[in-house]
Subunit: 132 residues, 2 copies
């Protein structure tokens, strides 16, 4: 059994990632850095990363079994969450229940950056399902 | 059984809080806003808030049974984590294992602000234990 260890991960030391599927990537040109995920860090039960939605871009509407939370660091836009449109900006926290359909729309002129959190061991285990 | 609901909580709509115990409050003049916690929001399994450590202030060394993660939004300082001193700044993510002794030291001139996350239903259930 792997031992968990206290650690600090710096965003500047992590690499940007995007969707491996080129069709999804073209429709949803969002990038993210994984910071805490048990397949890379000696951690369990929490997965954390930072995501960036470029200006004018809308994520594809999607859902996943694990619940998720966001904290918006920079930028402004809208989250479509369970069919409602809610304004978000710096300091907005979102709670996304299990299987809730959601997407972020950056309606501003600057990148929209948010921290995402899953109460899971890893990011790898999250199965994304698209709803459009 | 309460139903979970997707929601957005704005930091600007939440109130600052501090330690109710005046002795702890004097030694650790840190303030925080709770954003997602199941005793106030229809949520489970994730507790999220934003904390602010004033310049020159050191948190009391402490631990709690649930593990925790931070994401530093603003400011610079040090985290003492399991006996090691680690530099933190904007974009630093921390993983704090169950019962790991930790504290944040703001060695800068601006407030040090970080998002804290517990994989728990509520903040209320976290029992803080002090190690100094």
């Amino acid at each position: 059994m792997e031992t968990m260890m206290g650690l600090v991960i710096r965003e500047s030391d992590s690499q940007w990632e995007g969707w491996a599927d080129p069709v999804i990537g073209a429709k949803s040109p969002v990038r993210w850095k994984l910071l805490i995920t048990g397949d890379r860090t000696p951690t369990k039960g929490l997965t954390i990363g930072i995501a960036e939605v470029p200006p004018g871009v809308s994520q594809l509407l999607h859902h996943h079994e694990p619940q998720e939370a966001y904290y918006v660091v920079e930028g402004a836009g809208t989250v479509e969450l369970e069919g409602r449109a809610l304004a978000i900006g710096p300091g907005s926290a979102l709670f996304i229940p299990p299987n809730a359909k959601h997407r972020v729309i950056n309606s501003g002129t600057a990148p929209l950056r948010f921290v995402f959190v899953f109460p899971t061991d890893t990011f790898e285990e999250i199965q994304y399902h698209y709803d459009e």
